[in-house]
């Protein structure tokens, strides 16, 4: 698994699509792919885009994004995960936003630990940090 992080609108997805020649039908936003979606794409490289949005949605739905994402990565060790960096601001007043930042940060730390490579994208330019 490769992890790509960076601020909003830094060209993370474009970078991944170009570098790995990804078919856009293999890019998933908002939700992790279902078993059927994965089976129909067997052998292709899967990209999870905007992981932070998936995490936010699952927290709102009362899900367990930590376990769901870990289990997805275990089953799809060749995937690429893209996530915005959302923790570099003032602590939000809204308790949900605080929980969302905290859980997203912890999920990213754990993904980075297990990733074969971590790149941070700024203005479309990658910095390899692991």
């Amino acid at each position: 698994m490769k992890l790509i992080i960076g601020g909003y609108a830094q060209g993370k997805l474009d970078y991944v699509i170009k570098k790995y020649n990804i078919d856009e039908k293999n890019v998933f936003d908002y939700e992790l792919p279902t078993k059927e979606e994965l089976e129909s794409r067997s052998g292709s490289k899967i990209v999870i885009n905007t992981l932070h949005r998936i995490i936010k949605k699952r927290i709102k739905e009362g899900g367990r994004p930590e376990e769901e994402i870990a289990s997805f990565v275990k089953k799809n060790p060749d995937c690429i995960i893209i996530c915005d960096e959302i923790g570099n601001g003032i602590v939000p007043m809204d308790p949900f936003e605080r929980v969302y930042r905290e859980r997203t940060g912890r999920i990213l730390i754990s993904l980075a630990e297990n990733a074969e490579e971590v790149e941070r994208i700024i203005c479309g330019i990658p910095q390899k940090i692991k």
Partner: protein, 175 residues
């Protein structure tokens, strides 16, 4: 040796800072805690988690929410210190007096206090926050706070021998 560790929320900066001071000193260390815990459940939980991380790593905790140089009074001759964190210290200096302290006075209090500390310490690891990249709009006093912390970070990096940013738990060298 003075080392600055910066990072956003849940970026793994506390763990990196602890590992850093532990690699410089295996015997007893001081941990300067700046957070005013109060009755807030989230804070109590956060502090408990950090205490857990420090357990068995040989830290003596000194609570010092403002006037950081006073922490020196509680130390013996060997001074290996982890200061966590400058963002709380800055908020305490700015907002917890009878009136709001100006940006200039806040910066001076925090920077001079930490410089005094750095001079006396064998090793000092300083944790500060990256709060500068959310793009959100804030009220005037929050903007002043952000400006003060930005200036403090710049002055602290000047007096630091090394500086790192914590990014998804990875230590990225910036100085």
């Amino acid at each position: 040796m003075t080392i600055l560790i910066l990072g956003g929320s849940a970026s793994g900066k506390s763990k990196i800072a602890e590992d850093t001071i532990c690699s410089l000193c295996s015997s007893r260390k001081y941990y300067i805690a700046t957070m005013k815990v109060g009755n807030d459940e989230e804070n109590i939980e956060r502090v408990a988690k950090h205490r857990e991380q420090r357990r068995e790593k040989n830290f003596v905790t000194i609570e010092c929410p403002s006037n950081i140089e006073n922490a020196l009074k509680e130390m013996d001759t060997q001074k290996n210190v982890l200061l966590e964190c400058v963002s709380n210290l800055t908020a305490n200096e700015m907002f917890f007096g009878t009136e709001i302290t100006s940006i200039e006075d806040t910066v001076n209090n925090v920077v001079n206090g930490i410089k005094t500390l750095a001079k006396e310490c064998d090793n000092l690891v300083i944790v500060s926050n990256n709060i500068f990249e959310s793009g959100s709009e804030y009220d005037e006093s929050t903007r002043d706070y952000i400006k003060a912390l930005g200036q403090i970070n710049r002055e602290l990096i000047d007096v630091s021998d090394e500086a790192y940013e914590a990014v998804v738990g990875i230590k990225v060298r910036i100085k």
